[in-house]
Amino acid sequence: MTVGLSHCLALSALLFAIGAVGALTRRNILVVLLSIELMLNGANVALLGAARHHGGMDGHAAALFVMALAAAEAAVGLALAVLLYRRSGHTALDAFRLLKG
């Protein structure tokens, strides 16, 4: 039996849904960032599966772009998390309720 597009989509949807649950239900900024990372990796599985199914390699290029996007998101998100931790002493997203400069 070979890996079909539907298998890739199923795995991708599962990872994306788990990430979405984490991003929407947790309030620790680190776990929220990890959940977003999980959603992006779920999307990557779908891109690679579609590329394999159609025999092209544009999906591989898109997956690498998503990886770069995830790295940028992690860097900026962690910088915000460190700022939040310095100011409030905890990492709950409630501290971002007031975004005064």
Partner: protein
């Protein structure tokens, strides 16, 4: 063989992803996430994407998760926090929306079935093909990603510098 690898490591990735989302301490979340991302490397290899798999291993599982691990250790120093959402409606929406998404994905899954992929060239997924792609069709996107990373790096430095002011 490829299907077995895909199934085994895909299931492990899902299990570790659940652990990452459910763990109470940030460090445990990061540890589970590293395991989940490492399990995705064989999945990428099973999809005939060796270059993406290696990039995923070094960039996402290695470098990015090392940042998360350091941050998690620093944040966990004071013990676990109460991480529950205050509003039940938010939590309900957080559970319902992904379930709705899964339902939407399930329909084409059952409609498409498990059709086998078509044949590919011998150098499919190779570094040469990736290089050709990045320096021809996706050159503008490649440059845009470089710009995005530069902006992100500048933003991080700006955040930290602003905080250092008295």
């Amino acid at each position: 063989m490829q299907f077995t690898v895909f199934l085994l490591f895909g299931a492990l990735a899902v299990a570790f992803a659940l652990g990452a989302v459910a763990a109470r301490r940030a460090v445990r979340s990061v540890a589970c996430m590293i395991a989940a991302l490492a399990c995705l490397v064989p999945v990428h290899l099973a999809l005939a994407a060796p270059f993406v798999a290696i990039a995923h291993l070094f960039v996402v599982t290695g470098a990015t998760m090392a940042l998360f691990l350091f941050a998690g250790e620093a944040f966990d120093a004071g013990g676990p926090e109460d991480d529950r959402l205050g509003m039940n409606a938010n939590r309900l929406a957080g559970m319902a929306l992904p379930l709705l998404f899964l339902g939407m994905v399930a329909a084409p899954f059952f409609a498409a079935g498990a059709a086998p992929p078509g044949p590919v060239d011998a150098d499919y997924g190779s570094v040469r093909r990736m290089g050709d792609l990045f320096l021809t069709r996706h050159l503008v996107s490649f440059e845009a990603v470089a710009l995005l990373l530069t902006v992100a790096m500048t933003a991080v430095v700006a955040f930290i510098r602003k905080e250092d002011k008295p």
